[in-house]
Symmetry: C2
Subunit: 699 residues, 2 copies
């Protein structure tokens, strides 16, 4: 097929995917919404979510306009005499700056649209899943999973349409970096901000509600309960969706840029550039089929249904990709890279599961150690969290080496192999996201069922659905982390390719002091970034705790159940705090790489990106896994071990869980976005940095 | 002066230093040991220390013999046909293997001797300082500081004598790698083992004594109290001494190896090899003078005395080094490197102080957050701990760049500049170590004064001396960490120089997948290593808690004060646990670099070493600073803030302090030793790895 045909193929499947998402949206929306009490509670959550989204999109709009103008302006710097003097081969023209700025706006708009669809159906599906649970497990599962699939399908659809259309018009993958940066800007706000929101509400609701006032979780008397429920959607639906959208686009762009070098001297130079999009399209096809297999039989297990959906999609994708490569007579090395990445991602998922599964030693050990008090719980959990990175890191190294050398063995650039492995992993994204977004929906459903007194059986069914979500999460999370790791490695390589295109081959020898300095500075960023997010959570939780206490004091009827608390105040504190706390972390993400590049040069900036990957991948896995470990350790004790709920061991485990909350839901998963933003900023502004850097004068 | 003259100069000053140490030993030993009750308590501590040292040196002896034979054997591998076939230029001869093995034995013996002298005087000086405190602050300070100086003087003396003698006979700095590895083997056992010992005893004594039995700290009824006091010496005297001995030797060796390349085409090729030893000798001279200034005037402050001793020694060293370089007409770039390193080390010390000083925001913020419970204390402390690495990392990068480019500006290898900066920093080691070893001595003195009822005034004076030790620690710690960081960077460069000498120039481009894989694997080691040490602490503390409870049950008279607990059992549990838990961490340190090198090649091994430095430096600083922060946060509350002792905030702060204990005294400070061992193993076995690596076949 011609290149244009492939692009239309991708766009076509993207439109189908988006259409499918809208169809599912309408289907879920048609389901029974039950009685007035449930609708009232769900209405509070919807209002809260709407308020948050309004603030989020408002902030995003400002950020996008400012950065968009900045991009267009900075590119016109290329016209300056000082820049021209360096005669960089591939220097941009101002028109390309405008294109890039437009692509940037489009990227955040596409991600925003997908997130909006996903969020607005999630906060409807929660109630409908609870109502459906009156009938049985299966109908409730269907509502929740299909609602999750809205996000999954909409995401990949808008992403592939956006990328393909831009490429169709510009034929320059570097302009798509702008699209990717737009997606990253959205991810930074939605994931890091959402992570701060959800944990602010969670910690505050628990500390004042459960500990001080002695009321149970998900109790409508708690002023923060709605913020807590909104937070689940904000963090785990909108945030997670934007995060994976970001990785998905970034992996495609990185591979496309690397494809330019691969195709340069071949008969069909654009083929390797477009091939990542073809893989994305094949992945969408595989997901359409795979999603059909996600069904709970009578008395079946929803957790198994979710996992088998993932595995089946992987298999279908593998078969389709093999057929494509064999039938088209394409490069076999690329196929091996794709498949090896996929296999290792699944293996990493199972390893992650080992460290967070309550049937395994780490969780049980943390639970047992809780008998000696919370300090020992913390030390043990931190330690196992650190150890848990070992299998994943080995897996990532193996995936890197296999995809690299299999591509090399078949005569094309090994780096392209790494990029393709990342795309391969992420091409089944829509199934992963569907299973992930299912989690907060059923979690909310359980809350609504409890708050509106739907009865013991319904709550129990929702609970079964909820724990299925947690089981599936281990695998999808391992998947997401390893895919993100390969993606940032591919972006790292793409940075080199961009410089190569400028006639400035990147020299990143660790024996160069500038590179070494860059690595050390880059390695410092992810830990500091995660620390800033965690401090934002504690600071905002502090404010919300004051608010809850003030409401209890001002309206004594709240605790008696005769007055309705002001839910909106808590939602507003969480929203405002989350977005305003992002200023400093955003500066790290955008300004620091520019500063390093301008001061120490492009080689040092390469080292900087490398350094951020080295610690970033480790901190992301460590924090996510330690958080999951503590969470399940607490649940293990709540299931009746070591004295059960209320025991000293349980109190210690609750401390562990609270520490783990911002680890696993705020800091850990946002690191990936940080690295992506830093890599994209570096690649995008490479020409300007190369021309203006102070290091030019040192040399 | 001729090279031999310089060597004799260094040896001579080494002998003077060692003699001075013995003189101070005798002087401290002559001081009044007071009454029977104090002698009895101190006797328990001495017995415990002796028991631990016997076990430590026994283990060391076994390790040294096994590794020594292994070294000799592996070097004879060079004679194999397969190795010869690679025709490595600088391949070792079997005789050099024997020399290296002997140097290895000598390195651990020298470190062991210095540690023995330091430990055995420390456990005598504690009692004598307490007795002297009856007279006044000043005599007590003198006893404790001079006892600390025994370790400081003995260390640098034995190290410089050892290195100089080996070089005098062999003229091959690579053989001194063996000496350095011997010192590292001792450091691994003494520092990591000592760190496990001391925190096992500390945590167990606190949890059962203070929390369960409700008896105060340092109460003789607690069976673990002696183990706790022994632990202070074991961790902070023997362990700290071996750790800095290790850095001191490693920095000298690294710079000497780098000096080979610098001198290669000059008129006096050996000068740059021997220059690091000359700097060490000058540093000893400066220390002799500087130590004379460490005096507490009437009503003076002991903390200021310690700090001014450090600063004065730095200044004297700077002046002497300048005179030396100017008078001798040596390279000015080297002088700038030395001095810039020294200045930045002091600045880093003050930055570290900011994050752990209770008059500054971070500590006060953690204390204030403790009102919301222990989980918030932990999150806040972790966050500030992570942020605290920023100034130090920037300082290290500046020191690296300045020392590199100042050397280059004067026409010699920039890498040598980095090596010299590390040697410059460490040349004032004996003052740093003296001030550091002073801490546990006065801490013990306070314990003995309390346990043997020496009266309120004596305890108070010991307390003043103790907090002076903590103040001084912030600066010496910052100093030690930055020196260690530059040392491992120099070792990293030395690895490249060794390979260069073999005719195999190191290519560590981060764009190579093998190098990248190496970096990712290397970056994983420090976190995992620290996690294993922390798990060892919790596991052993668990065992000791059982033992203490069993003693209380079996002998009810203990708590009434009518029966003496079995202190030796607790010491024995701590010793056995500490040393046996080191098996797995030691494997990481020795086997993993060999495995990476043999599988992925020497370039990947270079990446591996780099990766271990990147995360190692960050984790070491993060853990040390977070631990110090929590410790002082607790003390801040104990001083009467936020409800004071016994309040909820205090309970939360105690949890933070307990988590921080293994952070700052076990895991954090041991990472440096891990990296040193891995670097030395790699450099030492580089010829074998280069010849036998699997990567040879891939290429």
């Amino acid at each position: 097929m011609s290149i244009d045909m492939w692009l239309f193929f991708a766009i076509g499947l993207g439109v189908v995917s988006l259409g499918f998402a809208l169809y599912l949206y309408a289907w879920v929306n048609r389901q029974d919404a039950g009685g007035a009490r449930g609708q009232q509670i769900a209405g509070y959550i919807q209002d809260g979510a709407r308020a948050y989204l309004a603030k989020l999109y408002g902030t995003l709009a400002v950020l996008v306009v400012v950065l968009g103008v900045l991009i267009a302006l900075i590119f016109s710097l290329d016209m300056l005499e000082s820049v021209k003097a360096h005669q960089l081969v591939g220097c941009k023209k101002p028109l390309e700056g405008v294109w890039t700025a437009l692509a940037f706006v489009a990227g955040s708009a596409c991600s925003g649209l997908a997130g909006y669809l996903g969020m607005s159906i999630a906060v409807r599906a929660n109630l409908r899943a609870a109502v459906a649970a009156k009938v049985g497990l299966n109908p409730a599962f269907k509502v929740a999973f299909y609602a999750g699939a809205v996000l999954g399908m909409a995401m990949v659809g808008t992403a592939v349409i956006g990328i393909s259309v831009i490429y169709l018009f510009t034929r320059d993958p570097e302009i798509i970096l702008g699209f990717s940066l737009g997606a990253s800007a959205m991810a930074l706000l939605a994931k890091a901000g959402g992570g701060i929101f959800t944990k602010t509400a969670d910690i505050a609701a628990d500390l004042v509600g459960k500990v001080e006032a002695g009321i149970p979780e998900d109790d409508p008397r708690n002023p923060a309960v709605i913020a807590d429920n909104v937070g689940d959607n904000v963090g785990d639906v909108a945030g997670m969706g934007a995060d994976i959208f970001d990785s998905y686009v970034a992996s495609a762009v990185a591979a496309m840029i690397l494809g330019v070098g691969v195709g340069r001297d071949t008969a069909n130079p654009e083929f390797y550039v477009v091939f990542p999009l073809v893989l994305c399209a094949v992945g969408m096809l595989a997901s359409f089929i795979g999603i059909q297999f996600v069904r709970v039989g009578k008395n079946g297990k929803p957790g198994a249904a979710l996992n088998s959906g993932t595995v089946i999609t992987c298999v279908i994708f593998g078969v389709l990709a093999t057929l494509l490569v064999l039938a088209g007579g394409y490069n076999l090395g690329v196929l091996i890279a794709t498949i090896s990445g996929l296999v290792i991602a699944v293996l990493i998922g199972f390893c992650t599961d080992y460290f967070t599964n309550d049937e395994r030693r780490p969780v049980q050990q943390v639970a047992a150690m809780s008998k000696s008090g919370s300090a020992i719980t913390i030390i043990t959990g931190l330690s196992y969290g650190l150890i848990s990175v070992v299998p994943s890191m080995i897996g990532i190294v193996i995936a890197t080496l296999v995809s690299y050398f299999s591509a090399e063995a078949f005569g094309i650039s090994g780096i392209y192999g790494i990029g393709i492995a990342a795309v391969g992993m992420l091409s089944i994204t829509s199934v992963i996201v569907s299973a992930d977004a299912y989690g907060p929906i059923v979690d909310n459903a359980k809350g609504i069922a409890e708050m509106s007194n739907m009865g013991h059986e319904v709550v129990e069914r929702c609970d079964t659905l909820d724990s299925a979500g947690n089981t599936a999460k281990a695998i999808t999370k391992g998947f997401a982390i390893s895919a993100a790791a390969l993606t940032v490695l591919a972006l790292f390589a793409a940075y080199g390719e961009v410089l190569q295109g400028l006639g400035l081959p990147l020299k990143m020898d660790l024996q160069s002091p500038l590179v070494l300095g860059g690595v050390l500075l880059g390695a410092t960023c992810p830990p500091v970034f995660s620390a800033l997010l965690m401090l934002a959570v504690t600071k905002n939780a502090f404010l919300m705790i004051e608010e809850i206490r003030a409401q209890f004091r001002a309206k004594p009827g709240i605790l008696k159940g005769t007055e309705i608390p002001d839910y909106a105040r808590c939602v507003s504190i969480a929203s405002a705090g989350a977005l305003s706390s992002l200023a400093l972390p955003a500066v790290i993400a955008v300004i620091i790489p520019l500063a390093v590049g301008l001061l120490l040069g492009t080689d040092a900036l390469g080292g900087f990106l490398g350094g951020s990957i080295f610690t970033g991948v480790i901190f992301a896995m460590f924090m996510s896994n330690a958080g999951g470990l503590w969470d399940n350790g607490k649940k293990f004790i709540e299931a009746g071990h070591h004295g059960g709920p209320g025991s000293d061991a349980h109190k210690a485990a609750v401390v562990g869980d609270t520490v783990g909350d911002p680890f696993k839901d705020t800091a850990g998963p946002s690191i990936n976005t940080l690295i992506t933003v830093m890599s994209l900023v570096s690649s995008l502004f490479a020409p300007v940095i190369a021309a203006l850097s102070l290091a030019n004068f040192i040399k």
